[in-house]
Symmetry: C2
Subunit: 334 residues, 2 copies
């Protein structure tokens, strides 16, 4: 089988897609072509801390689909699976800033961490108050040696952006948002599995091949290896293998509540994600853990990868209240 995509050419893929996104949502976002970033459309007079995130493309709707009221003020896309430049991030900070400081939400990858840090320094030189929340929720990369890159950042970033976005609209200060975002990231862990690899734009073959009887367990959102290969099986056997280690890592027990994200990696059908959610709910029921809120869909993708991730966030009244607050973005609205 040859994999083909609905694109023009790989080099123009991301900018052309973002032009297309902005034409679908002129009321919500504005696409700035060079340097490349997406910023909220319309009136930005209300004083509030601005939220900026970003990273490599290929994970859409993350992050550009989360720009809008109640979530991000700007998102900075790199090329596919490549960090945006510090210059881009700096431009987005300047565009998003409303004079109350800027919160950067950064997934833990070396390139992103570096470029967002340089951008923060450049912005600080111009008098903009900038602070960062690092998201490092991928349990497959836990327990590395000291001084290593640490856990990768994956789908928990949606919870950090949503919850901090709501708090920012309510007037939280930059210091309060750093504390809140760090708390959300620290209360969240994710595990993913792939049934099939992704294919880079313009390539006709997947990045890796999986035998028909194995899944890539603990896969990263760029197709990175995680924990290793495991036998394929029915959802009722695979889901507990994802959920149980998260429950353990977060120390969740009977009577605790969670916010759950069941996330498709790109080519997973809605019916399959619903089955995964059913199995997750059954697993949590069995453990006496309350499923306070669920988000089920393809939100943090890895191009056209087949598979899913499960994220659990330890919930409390403050977090669920902020989660429930209104949001109006291309990919998340309620």
């Amino acid at each position: 089988m040859v994999v083909r995509q609905l694109i023009n050419d790989p080099a123009g893929f991301v900018p052309e897609a973002l032009e297309g996104l902005s034409r679908a949502h002129p009321d919500l976002i504005r696409w700035h072509e060079d340097p490349a970033y997406v910023v909220r459309a319309g009136d930005r007079a209300k004083p509030k801390v601005a939220l900026v995130s970003g990273g490599g493309s290929g994970h859409e709707p993350l992050h550009t689909g989360f720009v809008g009221e109640g979530m991000l003020d700007a998102a900075v896309p790199g090329a596919v699976f490549a960090s945006p430049t510090a210059f881009q991030v700096k431009a987005a900070i300047t565009a998003a800033d409303r004079g109350r400081g800027v919160l950067l939400i950064v997934k833990n990858y070396t390139g992103d961490v570096l470029n967002f840090r340089i951008a923060a320094e450049l912005a600080a030189d111009e008098g903009v108050e900038v602070a960062t929340v690092l998201v490092d929720d991928d349990l497959a990369t836990d327990g590395q040696e000291e001084g290593g890159p640490g856990r990768r950042g994956t789908a928990a970033v949606v919870a950090v952006e949503k919850i901090c976005g709501a708090a920012a609209e309510r007037g939280a200060t930059l210091a309060e948002l750093v504390k809140l975002g760090t708390r959300v990231a620290g209360s969240a862990r994710t595990l993913a599995l792939a049934l099939e690899s992704c294919t880079q734009p313009g390539q006709s073959r997947p990045s890796f091949e999986l035998p028909g009887d194995e899944v890539e367990f603990g896969v990263g959102i760029h197709g990175e290896h995680g924990i290793g290969r495991r036998p394929f099986g029915p959802a009722r056997e695979l889901v507990p293998q994802l959920a149980a280690p998260i429950v353990e890592a977060l120390g969740l027990g009977r009577g605790d509540g969670v916010l759950a994200i069941v996330n498709g990696l790109g080519a997973t059908h809605a019916l399959e994600l619903s089955v995964v959610h059913r199995e997750l709910a059954a697993f949590l029921d069995g453990a006496g853990i309350r499923l306070d809120r669920s988000l089920v869909g393809s939100y943090v993708t890895s191009l056209d990868m087949r598979g899913c991730s499960i994220t659990l966030v330890r919930a409390d009244e403050e977090l669920t209240g902020l989660w429930d607050a209104p949001v109006r973005t291309p990919a998340l609205t309620w």
Copy 2:
């Protein structure tokens, strides 16, 4: 390559998925297992015409994801790519009815048309006023011989459900809704193309194979053949081949406005759909046709098919106003 799915067993796929969906949205929907249908959760005291749709599964989020305020009152899922039974439809009508009549929104497939008609007769026998809007927007099946099944119903059904749903909330009568829904369906045409076939649950091979240099043009949402095979090419060449015949069929010209749906068939990445939307917007710009509203995403899928459909609906102030009205369902909220 072997295709695998996140399921338990094919027989339980649909009911297990719908259980999972209802656990993710307990505030919006309730899943009735036997006979199988999804109905709005919560207070249904407000008198209004009830909207019921349904059809084969495998097209999710259609229709079960569109149950909620401002859209459907109930949805009836068949097995994958198979019509629900008349008995199921009748049960959903009874559950959804609020004493002001029930509008059935039916995609034009022989089984659906038959079973919804029988259900309507059974409900009428019990004194429920029932009327039907048939959706037959697939231009690939236009111009058949007289007495044939007519055009297939595809993604325009989302516009019919959204627009009639809004009008029903505002108090439209059953007769008014039939007129409105028929007008929307008659003002809408769709064309689709597949880059890759879909795979039935439990099967390990796609339903059909496409050579690497061809696309299935005019494909149906069950993988049916349409117009034939055409050469694969960049989006800027493929999109006008979908859009131009629709523009012609609807008689759209300079100064007209449209509501556009760029729909992924199941395994198409958000970035690709955004590129398709960019090319569609450019094509409409060139034709002097106003892009009044856009919906871009995977809303009417064909399991894990790769490809997209484009739907255009001739827009006017009444239709865009109803399109913009609030909606709160699992898959569509604003």
